[in-house]
Amino acid sequence: MALADARAICPDLATRPADLAREAAALASLRRWAGRYAPMVATDGVDGLMADISGVPHLFGGEADLRDDLQARLERAGLHATSAIAGTRGAAHALARHGGGIVADGQLAEGIGHLPVTALRVDHDTAEALARVGLARIADLTHLPRAPLARRFGSGLVLRLDQALGAQAEPVAAEPDAPQFGVRMTLPEPIGLQSDVMAGLARLLERLCAKLARHRMGARRVRLELRRVDRGTAQVEIGLARPMRDPARIAVLFAKGVDEVESGFGIDALRLTAPVTETLAPEQIGGGPTIRHEDALADLLSSVGNRIGFDRVLRLLPATSLIPERSFLLAPAAWSTPEPIPHRAGVARPIILFSPEPVTAASGTPPARFRWRRMRFTTLRATGPERITPEWWFDDPAWRSGLRDYWRVETQEGPRLWLFVTPQSQGAQDGPAPVGPLNWYVQGEFA
């Protein structure tokens, strides 16, 4: 039914756009749960699950009891689902989408014979062609000779029919679970010494890193959960400056956090997880000095980032903007790589930049004399102006005063300063001809 029709029937209809990603995630978690009924569970389309329950039903007291149990649990969870048990994958698929139920062993043809042919997972055109010749139910097809059927409607139909009736094998292809990077250790006696915890951590790290290596992943964050005997938990989490799976180097970063843990009456369980991972291809270790230097630098960034915060360990990256403040980016070093800086000819730029500081007692353009930071300066030489206009597509509060004329002012006292004036803001205040002294600011210092 189209949405417009539905709204015409029921004006108060509440509608929400489909969130396919979250639906798929919900189905995936349901698939994990369905593992309690069968070792092999696969998603079946976007709205179904397929489980191979061979050898399982007697654990639940028979197929009917298993299905009742499944339905009851889903019902309790608030999910409306239909389930079917049949000897083949195709038959179960067909029956589950048309009422559900159980097809007894050896009675496949009778069990699904009454279903329409669309239940056979055939495409729309084939189903329409079948309907046109009067073949509406699966039972109508089973007695027909296969060769003419295949010639007329394609081999796909015959394949699906064979699969539903068990003439053609079709296994349940359960996709592998996403690897879960977590290891744990339970101790018979509680421990309390820092060295003991570090020893336990070393063993866990070895296992975790082996698992990471098997999946070619590297950890970006590693979390250690310590369970005390009084059921309290302590948690130590570290970040890494780049994906890593070297047990010794990760263990060093835990030392400070483990030192601060209150062990109470003792710790009897450790759990180590890597919540954030990234792909990390196998690489040469202990090779040339370059690799060792890179590793050591990453270790430094990790340890500093864990103490002062990764957002305070920065790197300068070039940006495409003429605005001085936005001509470079301060990016966290752990999440960026150094970029080559394009060498740009043109007007020299200061080595040090700060937010604009107004100068006082400025006289003339450029000012012959001015005061800045309680110091008196006399201009020896001024180069400029270099006009920089604000980027109109950004609303930057600092640039609301309009365009700026930058001057490089060499002072008699020594410092070479980067001054600017905002002619537009002055014009707005005093009319077209500026009467009062212009607003001068210092924004940088040259070498």
Binding site: R292, H293, E294, A296, L297, D299, L300, L301, S303, V304, R307, I308, R312, V313, L314, R315, L316, L317, P318, P324, S327, F328, L330, A333, P338, E339, P340, I341, H343, R344, A348, R349, P350, I351, I352, L353, F354, S355, L380, R381, E410, T411, Q412, E413, G414, P415, R416, G444, E445, F446, A447
Partner: protein
Amino acid sequence: MRSDLRMQTGPTDLFDLRPRRVHEAEGRGRRAFALFQAERHPGPLVWILPAYVPELPMLRGLPRGVGERLHLFRPVGETDLLWCIEEALRAAPVSLVIAEPEKPMSLTAGRRLQLAAEAGRTTGLMLIREGAGSNATETRWKCEPVASTAADSTLHQWDLNKNKKGTSGSWVLNWNGASAAVHMVSEARQRHEPAGTAR
């Protein structure tokens, strides 16, 4: 003796910081001096400045090849700052650590940094306020920009006030902030100065 040998190798070697030691620079031109040294140290650079300091290095104005290698640490608080300096000095791959401590460093802190620099084979340069130096420093430079009469020269006066293993000195030179090369302005002046220029 050692400084005499170094004198003979060339004029720019005068400004080589002794490796594996921590040095200090003060004055208005200390950041320019730091960048001059940064260019002469190949390898990763670390600049540690407290989070409240508004003065940031501007990428486009830095000497060539410095911006890519530069790492900026911005810790909050003096303890974290000192910890960062020590950690960076201890890291072997870092070639030069530039730091701006806010308070005068105690002898203990200065000595610890010297030990860290020795352990990590790293050179350190503290950009200090006037007179806020530590006694443990290897050399102390006073750097001031100097006004010049010629249009395209950027003069600096770099005074070596304290030197544990050599003599002090005072130089006026022309460094434009882009290349590693400097031009000494007045060699004669340096020769005729009395031995104990400052302090």
